[in-house]
Amino acid sequence: MPYQEILSAIPTPVVICSHQKKRLLFVNTPAATLFKKLTNTKRGVSYSDIKIILHDFSPREDSGQVNSFETRQPVRGKKAFLWLEVITSTVMQDNEIFTVLLINDISARKTKEQQMVQSLEQERSLHEMKSNFISMASHEFKTPLTAISSTVDLLETKLQMDNLLDQFYRHNISKISSEIFKLNTMLDEMLTLSTIVSNNIEVSKQAVAVEQVIHDIKYQYFSERKDDRVLQVAVTGTPRKIYADKNQLSKIFTNLVGNAFKYSSENPAVKLQYQKSRLLIKITDTGIGIPEKDLPYLFNSFYRGSNVASIEGTGLGLSIVKDFVERNNGTIFVESQEHRGTTFTIIFKYPQETPA
């Protein structure tokens, strides 16, 4: 059976040509149909049509070499185009090099691919918009919030100066203040959770002195309290740095110490124990404790203990804490007894000493 008959039976477009003599040797029916579609005429396929498809692609001349490429070809006279996948190989015969081309019309696949890329891009930009919106909103909300809280401070100061600050005003002013700061905490938690959910959290680890972070958050968030309570900090062992994200460590401790203040009425304590191979951080309060049945679910988003009904919160704090601890290769666990108090323990291993 002559090779032409075999190749004609192949449903994929096949072309054989010689670049040396600039001539076509063979074009099967599917190839002829494809080129009619491309040239938008009824004339037969010419060598120049093939040259256009190959444009600057020059097939390797060593025999048996297989190459493939994708090309976008305009349909003459129309605003359409076809995506073609071209597979070439060369055959040497009687000192003439022949190029065999297998051409696939991959337009449908390409269109789908492009649609997918487009919708992925769309989704990405929507995601970014959402994340930007939450970040923008939580930042923008703080501006009026700050103005409100300062105005409350102003009213309180003026009332005090005019000797009008009685129990009634004091009580209600402090109520406004505490609600403002609750709203602020919620905004911060929402922002943090949105960055975690969108997985935009970048962990930038460095050598961190944990006692410095504790000192910073104590000064920034837990000093000058209205109820005069203070955070007690104790350090044992020789301080060593750990390898972690400072910003995330700060959020972890701010949240746990904040909880310790929120759910107790005495002074909470942070104990840093620098042991031989690890740092143990214990955050302890002597407050209402956590019922045993709640302990397994404590770190789940939006889960709150069954005994916190009257104390406000979003149920997001501890899930953020756990996520951050684990991102920094630490472990966290909780021990608690109702009406006795709660201790959260975080363990960080020291960075491996690189052997000299």
Partner: protein, 127 residues
Amino acid sequence: MNRTILLIEDKPSLLDTLKSLLELHQYRVIVAANGAEGVAQARLNQPDLVISDIYMPVLNGYELLELFKQDDALRKIPVIMLTAKTEIEEIDLALEKGADGYVTKPFVFKNLHAVIQKILNKGTEEM
């Protein structure tokens, strides 16, 4: 003698309230609505302390700090930054650029006042 505080904040409502609060606490207060105005006011009035927002049009808080540190007449004036950003890096950046203190928004005035007093008293001790 009353100490002079230059207050730089682009939100008029907050600027107004903070000005009143500081005045009730016996400070002389000069205001500016952005960093550029703030630098001009600082050169003109030589305040004892500057309290500045970070995110402002025209000249932001970081740029303000840079200008202050390059200017012989302004370099020694302490600056407290007010920022809604609670991220540690933001605060680190402000301190790195020479801020003497920071308070995150929203704040309790008592806390801001404590920072003001700490910085102003430190200045007196050194003199």
